[in-house]
Symmetry: C2
Subunit: 113 residues, 2 copies
DNA sequence: TATTAATATGCGAATATAGTAATATACTGT
DNA sequence: ACAGTATATTACTATATTCGCATATTAATA
């Protein structure tokens, strides 16, 4: 497989490699949402969410539809949602290590005894 | 879902977000390989490959086994390979756009006519 | 114990990404 | 045309990633 095709895949993964963008896709997995609805659900700055949406748009992971004042987003290909679902499984399998990492970050005092 | 868990997923995606690391995982999907074998197959600098292996190790996507002089790597959880397989499907579905992007990058003269 | 082979690590430069604040654009209703 | 709402873009700063080079580590062998 030529490197350019691997670059394509890597670019998709790169687009998924941010907690906010994962959150966006998880919300969109339930169906179409407007940018404003996403901003509200995420509780984040408008500009910031808009930039993350731009990243997802650039890689064509989401598509948008303008309706008057608003812009509605959907996940273009459900395969992306399958990937996220697989990652959920992966996460559950390795929950222990994951929590270990989190513990180590959040309560370093406990790890030292 | 708490953001910390999304961060965990994002970190995994981040680890996958490089063509060299994708290549490494694709080679390892066929079975265990030594670092040296990977370096040879990839045709890249030893230090560079080793660094990419370190990224995959840090996220526990691969595990290593020392055998004397050599270090053998394997993909720890086949779910990761399923994710890559899904991405292959995704890629095939969107091959046209992907090739469009590549064309645009590689032969800008054609796009301007 | 010195030498070589296999692999990993540290460092610096170049580039990419993320967040914030400010501004721009597009549409709606008056 | 004007004001207001929804969304996108730009500019800037801080931080992270990647690569090449040099060096360190570990094991095998002379």
């Amino acid at each position: 497989m030529p490197d350019s095709l691997r670059q394509f895949k890597a670019d998709i993964f790169q687009a998924l490699a941010h907690p906010t963008r994962i959150a966006i896709l998880e919300y969109l997995s339930q169906g179409e949402l407007s940018a404003g609805a996403l901003i509200e659900k995420l509780g984040m700055e408008q500009a910031n969410v808009s930039q993350h949406l731009a990243v997802l748009r650039a890689k064509q992971i989401v598509v948008n539809r303008k309706a008057g004042n608003q812009v509605f987003y959907t996940v273009r290909d459900p395969i992306i949602l399958q990937v996220l679902a697989l990652m959920r499984t992966y996460f559950q399998t390795h929950l222990k290590e994951a929590l270990g990492m989190l513990d180590a970050m959040e309560s370093p005092a406990e790890t030292a005894r």
